[in-house]
């Protein structure tokens, strides 16, 4: 089983990366570009085959390591 964890800044937290990318796209002449946000996508291969147990484990990984819940949100998607 594989988990995809998407980590992004919480709403209201400044995202300087996203801002700079947006500005550069504008400088390069791309029109109609609104807000740009940059996040992380972490893909994890898991030996676990039970979806419930897998989600629980990945949830714990997010809380303990992957996300900093002070400023970041995360969402988990299980594949296969």
């Amino acid at each position: 089983m594989k988990a995809r964890v998407h980590i992004s800044y919480k709403n209201g937290v400044l995202d300087p990366q996203g801002r700079a990318i947006g500005q550069t796209l504008g400088n390069l002449g791309f029109a109609g570009v609104g807000e740009v946000r940059q996040g992380k996508l972490i893909e994890i291969e898991l030996a676990e085959t039970d979806a419930g147990a897998a989600r629980q484990a990945v949830e714990a990984m997010c809380q303990r390591l992957l996300a900093n819940t002070v400023i970041e949100n995360y969402s988990i998607e299980l594949v296969d």
């Binding site: 209201g12 400044l14 700079a20 900093n68 002070v70 400023i71």
Partner: protein, 741 residues
């Protein structure tokens, strides 16, 4: 104010209740003062403004009466405490501008961003005054290495400091790090910046010129960090997780642009006054500018660049979004200023005017949403003479028995958390950008060349918290003296200091006693060493569940070197030189072990009185050593501090890759005592004779204690310990610790 406007003020926002007042950290007595000076109830925005302005962080209400006792003047001081940073004259038309500031609570909650934004904040304090920042330092205190959180905090804080400073392009050249269980729940992250400006082009914050435009530049305002200033003034408890969203994300790229844009504008004559937005953001910066200039400010809240929709005036006024500045411009120069900020792709907005009303007012859609008289807001802020009890002097230390041979003890000490090499840290900091770093980290003080000249600034930070806890007054004096000694050991002439006073809850008399004692000691040392305080910062309530940190008055000092080629270095440079100890011991008993690292690391004890601080001897010995360096007699010099004589000798040997044979009494006190005011020099034998003779003539204690050479250390001809073994202990600990689970 017309009655219609007053109605608007009152209609504006939810009612203020006893709970809202308490939530804002204001006492009932403080609220009564507010009612009095407004002559009515404040609305929520006004309450928020009072609460941040009267927080400990902004108003210094517990510390003010003591801070006033510190010496702040000298012939070379251009601007002492009260502005964004201190300014000293360094000759040739130049001034050094510097300050240190804490970012303790945010760094505990989010170590990377907390530390990063701490660096950003202190940089702004310095370039606000017209200086180009040329060096950053950081004084860090972490919990015990065994504590579950420590490793993660060290990794995050160091990465955050590097991440910000490296990107901004200001070298991080030095600092200090301690580990102690007293910081387990409350680490200290103190950041210092030094900048250079032309002495006749310093920018101040006093607003002036009725009708002049008030301009906002930098990043947009978001909802981040609201209540940051009150958080920094509140004790931690276990639900501090709840306060999390108040941590900000730093944007060093924008800060870099802001530095360049501000310096570019400062080269014109457009700026009347300028102030960075730090704690309490737009509120604090506006009020301070208005108060210093004796004028009013009227803000148009709609004009403030905002990152999010639907922000209330309360949020706009209290946001602590980073990388923002406020300035008052000369009329007619708006166009020039706008062009510069737009070139750097930064926000630029005229957000208000200077008024003659003496009031701080804000409008939304033309309606007044707050209206507070400036003077009372600043001057009637509470000021407390908090009760304090003097710390009881510790009992004398009974004689101790050495638990192991001295060279083994040395190996243990060199690899202990407080003495192990900090290479793992400073290699993550770009300490060479700007290409003026004349001395890499690892010496007594960082040396930074004054660009385009042969002169340099020496910069160091120091504090020994365990001394401060045992005897605050000595500890305060020792911290100042150690900085002075570290600067002197390079040959520099110490000029002035900044401080960052980190303590627990001042409402507890024993904590207030620590604070008072440290200030008294600092003041005595500053006066005796002609080493005034020109800027600083106070961080109180550093406690978790009632457990206070060690009293930690971190001191950052700067000194001037007229010729960098003459600077002394601690690395042994040649074999067959004599090692000369300058300075005597504390009480003639053969070395002071009370509160020493030897006692703590080898015997597991933290007791006894700290070493005495004899300021007259400190000055005499230091002036003597500086003279020897200045006239070219001495090139190799190291001051003695943590770990005493043997640790100092080993550090010199390791830095130079040359060993030494040392002679002296058998007792541990001689080798590991931490008596103050001492230096270790190395010189060719004939020069050594000359130094001893000159010392004798001046009545300074000096003795030859050994000879350099080989690749090991020996004591009194005993079995050697190789430099390789010592190096392994010294260099190995931190990387090994950090690679742990």
């Amino acid at each position: 104010m017309s009655s219609r406007e007053e109605q608007a003020v009152l209609r504006n926002e939810p009612n203020v209740t006893a709970e809202t007042v308490a939530e804002h950290g204001l006492s009932e007595a403080e609220y009564r003062i507010i009612l009095n000076l407004l002559g009515r109830e404040p609305n929520l925005t006004e309450l928020g403004i009072f609460s941040v302005m009267w927080s400990e962080h902004c108003s210094y209400k517990s510390s003010k009466i003591w801070l006033k006792t510190l010496p702040t003047e000298a012939a070379w001081v251009i601007c002492g405490p009260g502005e964004n940073a201190g300014v000293v004259d360094i000759g040739e038309g130049l001034a050094a501008i510097f300050k240190m500031e804490s970012h303790n609570h945010p760094s505990f909650i989010e170590p990377y961003q907390g530390a990063a934004t701490g660096v950003g904040g202190i940089l702004r304090d310095v370039f606000t005054m017209g200086a180009r920042p040329i060096a950053n330092l950081n004084a860090l205190r972490f919990g015990a290495p065994e504590d579950a959180k420590t490793r993660h905090l060290v990794a995050g804080v160091v990465a955050g400091i590097g991440g910000y400073g490296n990107c901004v392009g200001v070298p991080t050249v030095g600092g200090e790090v301690n580990f102690h269980a007293a910081y387990n729940g409350n680490i200290l992250v103190n950041a210092m910046t030094v900048g250079l400006a032309e002495a006749d082009k310093i920018f101040y914050s006093a607003a002036a010129g009725i009708g002049n435009p008030v301009v906002y530049v930098g990043s947009k305002t978001g909802r981040d960090g609201i209540h940051g200033a009150t958080m920094a003034s509140a004790e931690f408890d276990d639900d501090s997780e709840e306060k999390r969203p108040t941590v900000q994300v730093g944007d060093p790229f924008t800060e870099k642009l802001l530095i360049e844009a501000c310096l570019e504008l400062m080269a014109t004559d457009a700026i009347v006054a300028i102030q960075d937005m730090g704690a309490a953001g737009l509120t604090c910066s506006s009020v301070e500018m208005a108060d210093k200039g004796g004028v009013g400010i009227d803000l148009d809240i709609d004009a403030v660049p905002q990152r999010e929709d639907g922000m209330t005036p309360y949020e706009v006024m209290l946001s602590e979004s980073q990388e923002r500045m406020l300035m008052v411009l000369r009329p007619g120069s708006e166009g020039t200023a706008r062009a510069i900020f737009e070139k750097w792709q930064l926000d630029f907005a005229i957000v208000g005017r200077i008024t003659e009303t003496g009031r701080f007012t804000g409008r939304l859609d033309g309606e007044v949403v707050f209206d507070i008289p400036v003077r009372p807001l600043v001057e009637e802020s509470p000021e407390y003479d908090r009760p304090w009890t003097a710390v009881e002097a510790p009992a004398e230390l009974a004689p101790i028995t050495a638990p192991m041979p001295h060279l083994e003890a040395l190996q243990t000490l060199l690899g202990c958390p407080d003495l192990a090499s900090r290479r793992w840290i400073w290699e993550q900091y770009d300490h060479m950008v700007m290409a003026d770093t004349a001395r890499r980290p690892g010496g007594d003080a960082a040396l930074v060349r004054i660009h385009g000249s042969g002169r340099g600034l020496a910069i160091a930070t120091d504090c020994t918290p365990r001394y401060c806890r045992a005897e605050p007054r000595r500890g305060g004096a020792q911290a100042v003296a150690e900085v002075w000694r570290n600067l002197t050991a390079t040959g520099a002439r110490p000029l002035a200091i900044t401080d960052c006073l980190n303590f627990g809850n001042p409402e507890r008399p024993e904590i207030m006693g620590q604070f008072v004692g440290c200030i008294q000691g600092m003041g005595e040392a500053c006066a005796a060493l002609d080493f005034p305080v020109v800027s600083g910062n106070v961080s109180l309530y550093n406690e978790t569940n009632g457990q206070a940190i060690l009293p930690t008055p971190a001191i950052g000092g700067i000194g001037l070197l007229d010729d960098l080629r003459r600077a002394a270095d601690l690395a042994l440079a040649a074999a067959d030189e004599v090692l000369i100890l300058i300075g005597g011991d504390d009480d003639g008993a053969g070395g002071h072990l009370g509160q020493s690292l030897y006692l703590r690391e080898l015997l597991g004890r933290e007791d006894g009185p700290p070493p005495a601080v004899d300021l007259a001897a400190e000055r005499q010995n230091g002036d003597f050593v500086r003279g020897l360096i200045a006239d070219g007699t001495v090139r190799t010099c190291h001051d003695l501090a943590d770990g005493g004589l043997l640790v100092a000798a080993a550090e010199m040997a390791l830095a130079g890759g040359i060993g030494a044979a040392l002679d002296g009494p058998e007792g541990a006190g001689w080798w590991f005592g931490e008596d103050q005011g001492r230096y270790l020099l190395a010189a060719p034998p004939a020069v050594g004779e000359d130094i001893l003779a000159r010392a004798k003539a001046e009545g300074i204690a000096a003795s030859a204690i050994g000879r350099t050479g080989g690749d090991a250390l020996t004591l009194n001809g005993g079995a050697p310990i190789s430099l390789a073994t010592l190096r392994q202990a010294h260099e190995g600990w931190l990387p090994a610790y950090m690679s742990g689970p």
